[in-house]
């Protein structure tokens, strides 16, 4: 395998809160190859955003990375100093967020916000930056970009704001883009347009993409490979087609069963039993899904097999579904 765009190994993150220590991530392992699009899926609270924030170095001050590394090129992002990290962010690795309206500075013109990033990373002179910002707005499909560059975020629609976010993220041609639920809250048409802009760009420049979502349908449509997270663990990671054809982790199977597909009836939909375990508990079970799992065995209390971050398949289960169920 060629060297990946990003390799995350043994990443553990804790939050110190008033209610105790939240073990939000435990030994998370995955990678994304150059030019590849992976989707990270899982219920709300499963640790998708925390993973992204840890890689970006923008975790809340209450968070602590207790183990692991995140390798980008020659750099371990979790061990670099603040200033090197600031130079890498936005240039090598960029991120777009859910809620584009609040993710933009409310009192700065969007053109200026794009120009700020250009000036920082793209070798653009202060006099050329505004024009370059307008060009970027045009590439993300904003009509009348010269006028829109002078607008404030509150004067733009949600979809328009998300395009601006993408323009900011792609300003310096990053080699990796993390998109954390970039289309939540947008209508379906806008959703498709936004995803197309990202996909086209990835194809054109060989950019790797980590796409975070709880929409399994969208993930199936857009990703080469899917990483399934549950309660701070990665439970399964496989190429998209394999994963949907024959999910092996019971949680993946439950997620797929709970997702409305084009052929499924409302009566086919099953909800996943139980909720996420309380991550503040002192002694969390080895398998954090065991409490909700119908296939649980005695042996499930044993430590889970370690997942190889560089492998394209991963499975953390003592009693997985049979391999060739669909065949």
């Amino acid at each position: 395998m060629a060297s990946p765009a990003l390799l995350v190994e043994d990443l553990s993150v804790e939050f110190r809160t008033r209610g105790g220590i939240v073990k939000a991530l435990e030994r998370v392992n995955f990678h994304v190859a150059k030019g590849e699009t992976i989707a990270v899926v899982g219920e709300s609270g499963s640790g998708k955003s925390v993973t992204a924030y840890a890689v970006m170095g923008i975790l809340d001050p209450a968070a602590r990375v207790t183990s692991g590394r995140a390798v980008l090129g020659a750099l371990d992002l979790l061990k670099t100093d603040r200033h090197t990290l600031a130079a890498v962010r936005g240039r090598e690795i960029a991120m777009i967020f859910q809620n584009p309206r609040t993710a933009l500075n409310p009192i700065r013109r969007v053109g200026d916000q794009i120009a700020d990033v250009l000036l920082r990373h793209a070798n653009v002179t202060p006099s050329a930056a505004p024009k370059k910002a307008v060009e970027l707005l045009e590439t993300v499909g904003i009509t009348d970009p010269a006028r829109r560059a002078k607008a404030y975020p509150f004067e733009l629609s949600g979809g328009m704001c998300q395009r601006v976010m993408i323009a900011i993220a792609l300003a310096a041609n990053p080699s990796l883009l993390i998109a954390d639920e970039p289309t939540t809250g947008l209508d379906v048409t806008t959703q498709a347009i936004i995803m197309d802009i990202i996909a086209e760009r990835a194809k054109a420049t060989g950019m790797a993409t980590i796409f975070i979502t709880h929409d399994l349908g969208l993930a199936a449509e857009r990703a080469d490979r899917i990483v399934v997270m549950h309660a701070g663990h990665i439970v399964e990671a496989r190429p998209t087609r394999d994963l949907f054809a024959a999910p092996r982790h019971p949680y993946t199977a439950a997620l797929i069963a709970a997702t409305p597909g084009p052929t499924s009836q409302l009566s086919d939909l099953r909800t996943i039993a139980g909720g996420l375990p309380d991550l503040r508990a002192a002694e969390l079970p080895a398998c954090r899904y065991a409490g909700r799992c119908a296939r649980r065995l005695e042996g499930c209390a044993a430590p889970l097999p370690r997942v190889d971050a560089a492998a394209s398949d991963a499975l953390a289960c003592h009693n997985p579904l049979p391999q060739e169920r669909a065949a």
């Binding site: 990290l85 962010r89 936005g90 240039r91 500075n105 509150f154």
Partner: protein, 337 residues
Amino acid sequence: MLSLILNRLMLAIPSLIGVVIVTFLLTRALPGDPAAYFAGPAATEQAIAEIRAKLGTDRPLIEQFGRYVKDLARGELGQSLTTGQPVSREIATRLPASAELTLIGLLLAVLLAVPMGILAATKPGSAVDHITRVVSTAGVSLPVFFTGLLLVYVFYFRLGWAPSPVGRLDVFLSPPPHVTGFYLVDALLARDGEVFVGALKQLALPALTLSIFALAPIARMTRASMLAVLSSDFVRTARASGLSPAKVVVTYAFRNAVLPVITTLGMVLSFLLGANVLVEKVFAWPGIGSFAVEALIASDFAPVQGFVLTMAALYVTLNLLIDIAYGLIDPRVRLDS
């Protein structure tokens, strides 16, 4: 923007009318009869009645009010009984003294409190954070006259660094030619270095007293507001875009955090106008605060009314300036108006 300003001015008119009525009634309701006060303890009933007739205080209240409003409309604030001077002239000479003191005090407070608040917010739990907390607690719990006296005791009486607290300028220096009434500005305009330094020395302790008082709320609000903005989504975006830490803190965070700080400044400034009265007493500062207190003790209506009206006008101006600052900083405000 212009319509916003006009709009706010219109809104201020009813409050100003209210202030006119209330000050009038309030001064009339004060205990003490100015006629008796000025006639002196040995005066006869008849002498007092004569003075009363001269002052017009024997007339019905409504007639007195009518005359008061008529004078006001002509810009007349009446005469001070104690000094015999027109109140408007007294205020014109004394207001710059108070304004200079208050503004320098506020400026000093802002220059200290805002960086303190920002540092405390960007490094929670650090030494700066703790110092900010201690200073702001001390600032609110020490009464102004106490801080003033303490500073005089230490810096004048003990150390001898500060000049004696005898007003705006040492007796051996003469005030600069009147242009703005602010001695520092006028001395600069006259290119008189000696007077400038002299005025600055006199100003140092009273301004410091006021700034210690003003420091606490400004630092606290800056810190709280910065903390809120620093955890907001767009600051996270700015960080994720790799903007330099300075750019993130100043251009992205502080410019958004400054609005509540400006509101606090307005509030602090009106507190300072009140605190002035005590500071002016301690430092023998010839401002309008001490003037109003003396008039109040003498039951001298006109200066008290003039003082309250001036304060009200200042207050309205201040709020207007705050609104304008809001409009300049936040584009959303411009649309709302």
